[in-house]
Symmetry: C2
Subunit: 434 residues, 2 copies
Amino acid sequence: MTRWLIENGLFVTMNPEQPILKGWLSVEGTVISAMGEGEAPAEIRDQASEKVDGTGHLFLPGLINTHGHAAMSLLRGLADDLALQDWLENHMWPMEGKFTGDDVYWGTSLAAAEMILSGTTTFLDMYDHMDRVAEVVDKSGLRATLARGVIGLCPPDVQTAKLNEAVGFAKRWHGGANGRIQVMMSPHAPYTCPPDYIERIVAAARELNLPLHTHMSETAAEVAANVKDYGTRPVEHLDNLGLFSGPSLVAHAVHLTDEEIALLAERGVAVSHNPVSNLKLASGVARVPELLRAGVTVSLGTDSAASNNNLDLFEEIRLAALLHKGVSGDPTAVPAAEALRMGTVYGAKALGLEGVTGMLKSGMKADLIGVSIRKPHFVPATDYVSHLVYAASGADVAHVWVDGKQLLRDRELLTLDVERIRYEAQRCFDRLRG
Amino acid sequence: MTRWLIENGLFVTMNPEQPILKGWLSVEGTVISAMGEGEAPAEIRDQASEKVDGTGHLFLPGLINTHGHAAMSLLRGLADDLALQDWLENHMWPMEGKFTGDDVYWGTSLAAAEMILSGTTTFLDMYDHMDRVAEVVDKSGLRATLARGVIGLCPPDVQTAKLNEAVGFAKRWHGGANGRIQVMMSPHAPYTCPPDYIERIVAAARELNLPLHTHMSETAAEVAANVKDYGTRPVEHLDNLGLFSGPSLVAHAVHLTDEEIALLAERGVAVSHNPVSNLKLASGVARVPELLRAGVTVSLGTDSAASNNNLDLFEEIRLAALLHKGVSGDPTAVPAAEALRMGTVYGAKALGLEGVTGMLKSGMKADLIGVSIRKPHFVPATDYVSHLVYAASGADVAHVWVDGKQLLRDRELLTLDVERIRYEAQRCFDRLRG
């Protein structure tokens, strides 16, 4: 088993028992084996096959992106500043309809490269051609929660085929890539899946003992249509369909009533907040302070690079901390430490990975990043949690490890060929645009 | 006169007559002498003492930061997530009260390094010990508009001394540093300067033929206090005091009525929008779409690193494009190109530097930046204005030139010693905190 060590490091652990540690962290195989103040014991130093000098760096758990569609990175900048329906119907869907497995492979590779380069170590992906996505996860070394997002606006036999595909994917890949891949079942949204189809997907999830993920209450128009079509708002609708009777994570949840927030809290439903995408598509501002106060687990997602347009989770962390202050008028809303928890600890919890990742602690997976702090925007050395949230960006990430393996060293990608990915992604895009 | 050339470049000019140019740009002394498609003429190539290969880079005008307090970078991360009055009275003011000229010099140097590293070429600074700020501008090579911000809550003799100091500074430095320094006169805010003192500052500005800069309508509480104290809201109040009878730029302008927007447009008052600071201090969201529609020049500012907490203007550009969509519910609000104009062309106009900087055009100053685009988040090559606004960050800036002189080369600062600055800024902070 490989044993290695970070020395002279400053660790923002996200572990409330020891939030900041100046010292060392050792890894055995895929897990953090020990941590301590000051110098590492001689025994641990002797056993280490590699010693990373942490001077000038700040280490923290790898960031966790809990909602996205990685392959859509191929559509970055294709269409912006448009009304949602125009954007979807005239730009996104026509292009996505042409996506082959190859496009998904290279689009996801592009996203994986960008995520590693900006400090994300675990990501949730809801898309199609998921075997190709799983291949990228396997190759890149990232940790991922993958969901075949199914749209049910199709004949019954196609619905069944899609559900079977999702089930087959789950059986093939849940626990795959040395345990780095988890699978969720995913009806795309209440407005793209008829109620009986959602019930079938929920039943399949229960049978496979897998969590559920869906888009919910992203826009006011969607909520109004749900009321018109089904007589209930989306939260009650999905609750009636049994979606919240087991572990579940909903993306967006922008438009919620007090009663809906209370119900999400009661059912233990986690919410993936996507502040950049919600602003860019003019969906609105989610009621994050109220969700947090109610005890809902709120994590962060970038959504796709087509509505963001990057995958730098530091931006989501910063915007989560900034936006709700400005909109609520309360400068104490979503403090820096809480925003950082949303991007780490709460992200892990939302994905059912509490105790596995999202925190630097002995026994947990060695998913961590090293941020280079020898830069003007980290001066003076006041509060590093504040600096991470309000001043840093993904470009400050120098090193990334997942499952104990290094994926980025001094900003050099070790598992992916970025030149090849840039070339292939551009090639795919050019062909798709025709 | 030095002549040099950028070849094989992709230029986002911000010149509506030729927005995108694939080709070359030549510089003679401090100005852009010529630009063209494809290869540069042999004559221009022969005369160039240096040829910069622009392959893999995107060039655009240097960014313009129209509101800040550079020296406050010394207080980055000292106090966050607090109510405004607590933050100001218990954290900022006690520290600032201890600032010496030396602190201002090193704090401003820290800010200058960060601004160059993130692509800002011109900045407005409103502060104290302005001779020391001017020294930093001179040394760093940046272009700046400097204003001794005076607070008039003091005895008449102190008021007079401060005004004389501001006038003396203007006489010493307006047009200084080879013309790179402009000066504005600056009453700090209507709530920190009695009306008769504002009138004296306005009179001095008119005599010196200088523009005016002030904070205005940043918070709802400030507007209410103005009504209580003077019977008018801040816009009418300042208009009555003559502040808008000549060139003027107001920072923030978050809380405005339709009538106030119309008056600012009529008077030709420019507004510096500071979206990050306004969110962080929970001041609210400025009515930027309405200001732009009314024809007001809206530029961007970071405010200080104590309420931001970095000076990366790409973030302000992105947030200006995102925030107003999400808050207004209109995804076409502040399109990408308009946000980029706010950070360049409109910034120049707000500072009275239209035709001087903010655009790549023959005859204008050679203030430009080169952004490295060989990165995943610039793929695919769809719309580079979109990528600059929605995907880029200051860390993508590789090269910076101001007045024809290179200040940053492959992210190496050429005019400032960043190691020394980090050391001295930390030393100043440690002494201030005592």
